[in-house]
Amino acid sequence: MKKLMAILMLALVWNAAAFAAGTQYQMRVDGLACPYCAYGIEKKLKKIKGVDKIDVDLNKGLVTVNVAEGVELTEPQMVKLFKDAGFTYRSMTRRPL
């Protein structure tokens, strides 16, 4: 019983730590062409409060964004952001950091 409690506590602490560490979003985008595109997207994303780290992979058409705890990026928000930046948003995945 003690062992079970210890495992449960550990899992709880681990989950809390993971939640506190924020979320990583990966977005697939069409039309990424050059650094002007990458910088344009970074410029728009960094204006969102809580965005910590942005990585734009031009070759794969992949934008990776780490956000702080409690910050959420929504699909409609990203569709608009990428449209304003001149690109087409395709999909998004998320995972806890």
Partner: protein, 326 residues
Amino acid sequence: MQRIILRVLGGITALLLGLVVVTWLIWIPSAKEPGYVFVAAWGERGSAPGQFNDPTGITVYGGEVFVSDARNARIQVFDFDGRFKRQFGTKGDGPGQLGRPMNLTVAGDELYVADYWNDRVQVFALDGTPRRHIGKAGEGPGEFNAPGGVVVSAKGDLYVADFYGQRIQHLRADGGFIKQWGNTGKVGIWAGEFNYPTDVALAPDGTLYVADGYNDRIQVFGPDGKFLRKWGGPFGMNIFGPFNGWFTTVTSIDIGPQGNVFVADFYNNRVQKFTANGVFLSAFGGKGREAGQFDKPIAVAVANDGTVFVADYGNNRIQKWRPKEK
């Protein structure tokens, strides 16, 4: 019946072949001069002096090469042999700080930096002392939405490629608005319209050349502001490709000492050279990491002696080329 079908098919094939030949002759010109030879390269990825993290702009003046080192948010200065001399600029949006510095120009002993993230043109003394900045974020007259390149006329007027603004702005030295080409915020492919313009260059007579980035073409405007010509693929209308005289994303433009036009042809991994009227002269480069190869050349600058310097974006280095002897 079979004979008729064969004849029709033969006719169509001959017509298509004819079209290919005509297209080739009209729109794929051959080189008209010997071209360029690779001289030297310097730099690698990093943040130490002489290293780069996204070199995005280049200009030459007084025996020095100025380079926008975008992700390091600084300008680095070298001599013509690649020896590091000095650097200036830090990350931020305060005076003298840089977001993403892009194409550069020197005028009147001052360096003008298109500051893409900070939506302004920053002006430095050549020793790196910040002097002033021009413009702010916005889509109004004299405001910018990610400026990519700037050039300055003999009387001090500025011409700025406003990338997301989809326009070229002509401003007084103090930033006062004079006029613009293009429809603010609207992409267009017709003459006088733009599709993410990246850079500008001025001939001594005041003729303005625009690197019309994603339209894959150059547009030219006379000293009176009137549209003169465009080139890049068939009809200069957003048709990209790898052939001579075609482009796949143009990111920088400069005028050489003889009045010729040099263009960084980003995705074709080469620099192309044209007469002032857009006649293709030669090209150099090719994709790769070896000497004389590029991984997406993003900016080009020509010295008074004809030496060409190229910011080799993907390889995080600068390359130096000289004209081949005839």
